[in-house]
């Protein structure tokens, strides 16, 4: 039932309350976080779900906890809060840059990390590639407990998640890494990126790349890693020009999505430049 008395929005006050409300409503209800994606459903000619359980007032979902081995980010932490909370952690630069530059300030004040991950039709989400490159996991709460899975796995299954569950928090492991998120919007101000590249790498004592994770966002419908390019970065010093040349060679790995703001071929064409900038950004971090 969409709410016993026909109400379309139930504002939950605790996680247990939200799970109970979702269980009661079954398939007729969806989770609502910052609402910036859902409120635009009519513009996308999508029906709005029958009713919503809002989770953005739940205190525990609004916390960022920086622990020794991991960072726990509640699903309803906004982009602005995230950029602020992690600004002092160079190892999380990719996430801070993604959160601090996406959309525009008023959207960043409202849009949440959980919403960004769950909006499966939103190809240009900035946080998604940044979280992939940082090897993040997330926790899904369900009535009988919780489960933890990688962000990459979550992206594969997110459209089929059973009703009654919700993303509770995102977990970013802590390692001594350098990272950056490079985005190309058509206008500098307030646009979605045509393409984005998130890169994280750990370096040995002599500056040789020991491990690299590179994710590409907004080019294909869902952000994903670029394994061949990652392999090409490992075992040598950070070299922006060489990385761009490799990206150029490997670009055929992607098939760009056509959209109003850019054709698919263009999204792929700009990747080597974004890769070069990402490697340069890592080089400049000490």
């Amino acid at each position: 039932m969409p709410g016993q008395d026909g109400e379309r929005l139930y504002v939950a006050t605790s996680l247990a309350d939200a799970l109970a409300a979702l269980a009661e409503r079954g398939r007729t209800a969806s989770v609502l976080a910052g609402a910036t994606w859902t409120m635009r459903a009519p513009l996308r000619h999508e029906p709005q779900d029958l009713s919503y359980v809002a989770i953005s007032k739940i205190d525990e979902l609004r916390r960022v906890e920086v622990l020794n081995h991991e960072i726990s980010i509640g699903a309803c932490v906004t982009h602005a809060e995230l950029a602020n909370a992690l600004a002092f952690l160079p190892e999380c630069s990719a996430l801070v840059q993604a959160a601090g530059n996406s959309a525009n300030p008023a959207i960043r004040n409202v849009a949440t990390i959980g919403g960004n991950l769950c909006a499966s039709a939103f190809a240009a989400a900035d946080l998604v590639p940044a979280l992939i490159c940082l090897d993040a996991e997330l926790e899904i709460a369900r009535p009988d407990g919780s489960e933890r899975l990688t962000v990459e796995r979550f992206l594969e299954i997110r459209s089929d998640i059973e009703p009654g569950r919700l993303v509770r928090r995102v977990i970013v492991p802590r390692t001594k890494r350098r990272s950056a998120h490079i985005r190309l919007p058509l206008r500098k101000a307030g646009d979605y990126p045509v393409a984005s590249v998130s890169l994280a790498a750990t370096l040995g004592p002599t500056g040789i790349v020991e491990s690299a994770r590179l994710a590409v966002g907004s080019v294909e419908p869902v952000a994903r890693r670029w394994p061949l390019l990652e392999a090409g970065l490992v075992g040598r010093a950070l070299d922006p020009r060489h990385a761009a040349e490799q990206a150029e060679r490997l670009c055929g790995d992607f098939s760009g999505r056509d959209g109003i703001e850019a054709p698919g071929w263009y999204r792929v064409k700009v990747l080597p430049s974004l890769v070069r900038r990402a490697v340069l950004a890592l080089q400049e971090q000490s």
Binding site: E7, R8, V11, A35, L43, A54, K57, P105, G190
Partner: protein, 152 residues
């Protein structure tokens, strides 16, 4: 069910359906027509208001999520008919043309300057990234905002 909102310091009640965009309640029910509706998409910023002190696009906030919160609209800036320093600066710099974007510009800048009292020109531009103006070319708006910072 009635929702309580504190709008510009005054308690107001709305019986609107909770998924109604806040901007529609402000304009149609409370007759506060300062916030403008242009894109309804979060891109233009003409509907910017402050929700518990933070700038938000009121076209994308369901009124049910604004319940029991403080909303500030452009109507709150002038007190007893006296313009705020920012409004005055806009007038003095002859920054306003058609005015459609201005309620949003003013609210974005008001919350930004409360948080960052000593910004650079680039900081101000970044703060206005979500406020589109089709008329002015922005430079005089930024000049006006900077003049307020320098005068403070």
């Amino acid at each position: 069910m009635s929702l309580r909102l504190n709008v510009n310091g005054e308690d107001r009640f709305s019986a609107a359906e909770p998924l109604t965009p806040l901007v529609d309640v402000l304009r149609d029910e409370f007759h506060l027509t300062g916030a403008k509706i242009v894109c309804r998409e979060g891109f233009c910023g003409a509907c910017t208001v402050l929700l518990d002190g933070r700038s938000v696009m009121s076209c994308l906030v369901p009124v049910g999520l604004a319940a029991d919160s403080e909303v500030r609209t452009v109507e709150s800036l002038a007190t007893d008919g006296v313009l705020s320093p920012l409004q005055l600066a806009m007038e003095q710099h002859d920054a306003v043309q058609c005015g459609m974007c201005f309620p949003g510009m003013l609210m974005s800048l008001t919350s930004f300057l409360e948080r960052m009292p000593n910004p650079s020109r680039d900081d101000i531009k970044a703060a206005l990234a979500g406020n589109i103006c089709r008329c002015t070319g922005y430079e005089r708006i930024v000049d006006a905002a900077l003049s307020v910072v320098r005068a403070a």
